[in-house]
């Protein structure tokens, strides 16, 4: 059974992060589990955590009056879920729902946020990593917007 610290240290998101920070992050981490169909967070709720998905599938959704729940994107194991804990006003903008039974490591965002303010080096490391994820998600979203399979010019 791998320790939480080992799992975090081995994940690409935390690559090249100093050992002391890995240790600090582990102190804010815990294993969580969501049954299929359970919401992980809801739009508008306060964002105090983020998740490293270890198994399962999560749908990022938005609810609209006429079309119901629309899945914008799905995330699989290994993905990082949630960055609103790091960016004011620290509220979730979308729903996240487990499509299958999902195991994840939850990280205490409120606690880490405080530590980032105290130690800017740590803050920079987090922002660097999230900037990279956001860039990837933005590029994918742009491609989705292009509607490239559509016939019309």
């Amino acid at each position: 059974m791998e320790s939480l610290e080992a799992i975090l240290a081995g994940h690409s998101f935390f690559r090249d992060l100093e050992q002391k920070y890995i240790h600090l992050v582990t102190g804010c981490a815990s294993n969580v589990r969501f049954d299929a169909g359970r919401f992980i967070f809801r739009e508008g709720e306060e964002a105090h955590q983020f998740y490293l998905l270890r198994q399962g599938k999560v749908a990022i959704e938005v609810f609209t009056p006429h079309r119901g729940h629309i899945t914008i994107e799905t995330l699989d194991e290994g993905s990082i879920l949630g960055w609103s804990w790091l960016i004011p006003p620290y509220n979730w903008h979308f729903d996240a729902r487990a499509l299958e039974m999902t195991r994840a490591i939850a990280l205490d965002g409120k606690c880490l946020r405080k530590k980032c303010e105290e130690d800017h080096d740590l803050g920079f490391e987090f922002l660097k990593r999230f900037a990279h994820i956001m860039e990837q998600r933005l590029a994918s979203t742009r491609l989705q917007l292009l509607d490239i399979y559509d016939v019309h010019a």
Binding site: T74, L143, D150
Partner: protein, 289 residues
């Protein structure tokens, strides 16, 4: 005194012109999605057979209407069967869409450079299909499955606009059930009830189970999707010269004489439609080339 071509016109009939189609009879028409259909054809002459390589296309003729290039989407080991999957989006395809069993179409082909099945031996294969791009890749998958021991890990990544645009659903589910083939499908837009992946097909690449250092990739789909897919594969570590793409251009003859399909100095009908990514990557990003 004026020179006219009237005499000349009949001279053309005299020789067996590569522009004259052979007749094929429709055995079956299958509706795949709202605008996409598959025709299963057989040569009119009972003794005749048709052989092709995965990735090649035919010029398909509808009596009196016109002729268009369509990739062959069937099994290259079936000598009497010729399968074409196409969308009904233009004059010719809209008429083709109304043809039934027993009707005939004209076929000229097969033409073009096929998928590199020989170069793929011994490697992990990554097949990335976008939309109807899965049609020219299906013969490739059939060929791999027929000689499965010649290849390493085989991964099919398939992206469509919505779940209702997914082609060959039954086959995809059968393939996915195999232990020696990984199939991942993702849609750009989900509808309620879809529990599969949502996101562009490129998002499936980073975690696909293949060894990038011993992989050969084959991509077919809209040009934008080809560019981003290639980029993502290279990011993952696939060597640029192991990526192959299938291109599409306007074709009037299919045999390198009408000039329509030129893409830089390449004729897509005879230098393609399958190209090595390294050979065309500069031109892929040039506008209106």
């Amino acid at each position: 005194m004026t020179y006219t071509h009237e005499r000349g016109l009949e001279t053309a009939d005299l020789v067996l012109s590569p522009m004259i189609p052979q007749q094929f009879v429709i055995q079956r028409v299958r509706r795949e999605t709202e605008d996409t259909f598959t025709m299963e054809l057989e040569p009119e002459t009972t003794s005749a057979s048709f052989s092709f390589k995965p990735g090649q296309f035919n010029m398909v003729y509808v009596f009196g209407v016109g002729e268009i290039p369509i990739s062959i989407s069937g099994d290259s080991s079936e000598p009497r069967s010729l399968v074409h999957t196409t969308r009904a989006v233009g004059t010719v395809t809209k008429v083709m869409d109304k043809l039934k069993k027993g009707d005939c179409v004209g076929i000229r082909g097969p033409y073009g450079v096929p998928w590199p099945m020989d170069a793929a031996r011994g490697k992990d294969i990554v097949i990335v299909a976008g939309g109807i791009g899965i049609a020219p890749l299906r013969p490739c998958i059939y060929a791999i499955l027929r000689n499965r021991e010649n290849y390493g890990k085989v991964v099919l990544l398939y992206g469509t606009r919505t779940p209702s645009d997914i082609l060959f659903r039954d086959e995809l589910e059968r393939w996915r059930a195999r232990f020696d083939l990984e199939v991942y499908v993702s849609v750009d837009r989900a509808m309620s009830g879809w529990k599969g992946s949502v996101g562009v097909v490129t998002t499936l690449i980073p975690k696909s189970p293949f060894d990038p250092h011993n992989a050969l990739a084959m991509i077919c789909g809209p040009e934008v999707m080809i560019r981003f897919t290639a980029m993502e594969l290279i990011k993952r570590g696939v060597e640029t010269n192991q990526i192959y793409v299938s291109m599409e251009r306007n074709m009037k003859c299919g045999i390198g004489l009408c000039g329509h399909c030129q893409f830089s100095h390449y004729f897509v009908c005879k230098d393609g439609p399958v190209f090595r990514y390294t050979d065309i990557k500069e031109n892929l990003v040039k506008w209106e080339i």
